[in-house]
C-alpha cells in the first residue's frame, strides 16, 4: 500500500524535489543522487514511521542530508568536497525554504537553466526532458532517433557547461524575461513538433504538460499562446492519419473526429492571450489554428482572416516559413496560381530549397493547376527530403495518383 503511495509520489513530486535539491546543493549530479537516496530512505523508513505530514519537505531534507553525508565520505580523499559538505551543512534551510512558493520558483529556475541560450539547442532539449520532465536517456534517444550514448553525452556536456561557465540557477529579471522566455518556449515547441510529426504522442503530451506548467508558473501571453497552439494541433491528432498510417491533409480530414474539448480550451486560451495585446508569434499561430478549428470544412474556412493573421505574423516574426504558409493561405483565398507565384518567389531567392514542405506545397499547387510534370518533380523532391513514414506514404500516394 505504502509502496504504491511512494511510487505515486515519485511520479508527482520527484521533479519538484529535484528542482529544490539543485538549488540547495548547487549541483545537478549531486542533486540527482540525493533524490534517489531520498526516495530509497522513504521506502526504508515510512513503513515504520508512517507517511510524514509533508512528504515533499521530508524528501527535500532527507536528500540534502544524504548529499552532505555523501560529500563527507568522499571528503576523506578530497579536501574541497569536505569543505563543500561543511558549507552545505551550515546553511540551515529551515522550513520557510520549503514553502510552496519557493518550490514553485525552483521549478521555474530549473526550466530557465535547462533552456539557457548559452547551451546548445539540442542540449537544452535533452536536459529539459531529462531533468524537468524526468524522461530517461533511452526515452529521449528513442524520440529523437539518436543513440543513447549521444544523448547521455549531450546531457553531461550541458551540465559541465552550467557548472564551468557559471550559468546561474535563476529566473531571469523582468528586463531579460521576454528573450529568455522565448528560448524556453522554443524548446517546448520543438519537443511538441517532434512528437507531432514523428507521431510520438508521448512526446507531444510531455510538451503540453510542460506548456501547462509554464502557464501555471508564469502566465505570460506567449506562454498561453503556445499552450493554445499545441492544444489546437493536438485536437486533430486522430484525424491526421489514415488507417494505413498515411498523412491526411487538413482539407481532407474528418472534422467530426477533432477533439472538441481541446479545441474549446485552446480557443479560450487564444482569446485570453490576444486580449493581453502583448502577444507574439505563438499566439498568432494559435489564432490561425483556431480559425481552422471553427470551420466545418476547408471551403467554409475564413481564408481572408487567415491571410490577415499571416500578414501580422510576417510583420512580427518574418521568416520564409511564415511566407510559405501565407502563400498557401492566399492560394486558398485567391486560387492556386496566385499562391504558386509567391512560393516560386521564395524558392527563386534560394530560400527553403531543402525544406520538404516548400516542395510539397509547390507540388500541390501545380497539381491543382494541371501542371502535372512540375507537380511530379516537386513531389519527388519533397519525398527525397522526408524520413517520416506518414509523410512518405502521403507523397507516394500523390505521385501514384498523378502517374495513374
Amino acid at each position: 500500500m505504502l509502496r504504491s503511495t511512494i511510487e505515486e509520489l515519485y511520479r508527482s513530486e520527484s521533479r519538484r524535489v529535484l528542482a529544490t535539491l539543485i538549488r540547495l546543493l548547487g549541483d545537478f549530479d549531486l542533486a540527482e543522487e540525493a533524490l534517489q537516496d531520498a526516495f530509497a530512505a522513504a521506502l526504508a523508513r515510512w513503513p515504520e514511521t508512517g507517511l510524514p505530514d509533508n512528504p515533499r519537505a521530508w524528501l527535500v531534507s532527507a536528500g540534502r542530508f544524504k548529499a552532505i553525508d555523501q560529500l563527507r565520505r568522499r571528503g576523506r580523499f578530497d579536501r574541497s568536497l569536505a569543505t563543500l559538505a561543511e558549507r552545505l551543512a551550515e546553511q540551515d534551510t529551515g522550513t520557510p525554504e520549503l514553502e510552496d512558493g519557493t518550490l514553485e520558483d525552483d521549478r521555474l529556475r530549473l526550466i530557465f537553466t535547462c533552456c539557457h541560450p548559452a547551451l546548445r539547442p539540442d542540449a537544452r532539449i535533452a536536459l529539459t526532458l531529462r531533468t524537468v520532465c524526468g524522461l530517461t536517456t533511452e526515452e529521449i534517444a528513442g524520440a529523437f532517433l539518436t543513440s543513447t550514448p549521444a544523448v547521455a553525452q549531450r546531457i553531461v556536456r550541458a551540465k559541465s557547461k552550467i557548472r564551468d561557465a557559471g550559468i546561474p540557477y535563476q529566473v531571469p529579471s523582468r528586463a531579460e524575461l521576454p528573450e529568455r522566455l522565448d528560448a524556453v518556449l522554443h524548446v517546448v515547441y520543438l519537443v511538441f513538433n517532434e512528437g507531432y510529426s514523428a507521431i510520438r504522442q508521448d512526446l507531444s503530451a510531455e510538451a503540453i504538460r510542460l506548456g501547462r506548467l509554464l502557464v501555471e508558473l508564469l502566465p505570460e501571453p506567449e506562454a498561453v499562446g503556445l499552450l493554445a497552439l499545441m492544444l489546437l494541433h493536438e485536437s486533430r491528432r486522430s484525424a491526421r492519419l489514415g488507417p494505413d498510417g498515411t498523412l491526411i491533409l487538413l482539407e481532407d480530414q474528418d472534422r467530426s473526429t477533432w477533439d472538441r474539448a481541446r479545441i474549446r480550451e485552446g480557443s479560450a486560451l487564444v482569446e485570453h492571450a490576444l486580449a493581453s495585446r502583448r502577444f507574439g508569434p505563438f499566439t498568432l499561430q494559435a489564432a490561425i489554428a483556431a480559425v481552422h478549428a471553427e470551420a466545418t470544412g476547408a471551403s467554409a474556412t475564413d481564408w481572408a482572416q487567415i491571410v490577415g493573421l499571416y500578414d501580422v505574423l510576417l510583420r512580427v516574426d518574418p521568416s520564409p516559413v511564415v511566407e510559405l504558409n501565407r502563400a498557401a493561405a492566399i492560394a486558398m483565398r485567391d486560387g492556386p496560381a496566385r499562391g504558386l507565384v509567391l512560393v516560386d518567389a521564395i524558392l527563386a531567392r534560394g530560400e527553403l530549397l531543402d525544406y520538404r514542405y516548400a516542395h510539397a506545397a509547390r507540388a500541390d499547387l501545380c497539381r491543382r493547376l494541371g501542371r502535372t510534370g512540375e507537380a511530379l518533380s516537386a513531389y519527388r523532391r519533397a519525398l527525397e527530403l522526408t524520413s517520416h513514414h506518414s509523410e512518405r506514404r502521403f507523397l507516394e500516394g500523390r505521385l501514384a495518383e498523378l502517374l495513374g
Binding site: A118, R120, K161, D164, A165, P168, P172
Partner: protein, 118 residues
C-alpha cells in the same frame, strides 16, 4: 611597451594526457611564471577553461544573442580583451554585450580557471 602573449594549443591533446604529464607541463608553466616574475616581465596571466565552457555574445540591431561555443569565424581577428569580475554567466554576458565590439564583431566569454590554493 606592453604585449599580450596569446597561447594556442590543441585541447584534445590536453584531455588525452595522463595526470603525470599534465603535472609536468603545469610545472613548466609555474617555473616560467616565476622566471618572468623575477625578470620583471610579468603583468598578469590566466589559464582559461576549455572552449566547451565558452559563450559567444553578439549584438545586432540592438538585440543581444548569446550562443554556446567559442568564436569560430575567420573573418574577424582578435582586437582586445577585458578581464572582468562577474557574479555569474548572466552577469558576464550583460557586461560583454555592452562592449562596443559586440555590435559589429563578437565577444567570446571564457571563464578563468581557478586553481585551488594549495
Amino acid at each position: 611597451m606592453k604585449y599580450l602573449c596569446l597561447i594556442y594549443s590543441d585541447e584534445s591533446q590536453w584531455a588525452a594526457m595522463s595526470e603525470e604529464q599534465v603535472n609536468a607541463v603545469m610545472g613548466e608553466y609555474f617555473a616560467f611564471t616565476d622566471e618572468i616574475k623575477a625578470s620583471g616581465h610579468l603583468l598578469g596571466g590566466n589559464s582559461l577553461l576549455p572552449t566547451s565552457s565558452a559563450t559567444t555574445v553578439r549584438v545586432r540591431n540592438g538585440k543581444m544573442s548569446a550562443t554556446d561555443g567559442p568564436f569560430a569565424e575567420t573573418k574577424e581577428q582578435l582586437g582586445g580583451y577585458y578581464l572582468i569580475e562577474a557574479v555569474d554567466l548572466n552577469d558576464a554576458i550583460r557586461v560583454a554585450a555592452k562592449i562596443p565590439g559586440a555590435r559589429h564583431g563578437a565577444v567570446e566569454v571564457r571563464p578563468i580557471e581557478e586553481f585551488d590554493a594549495a
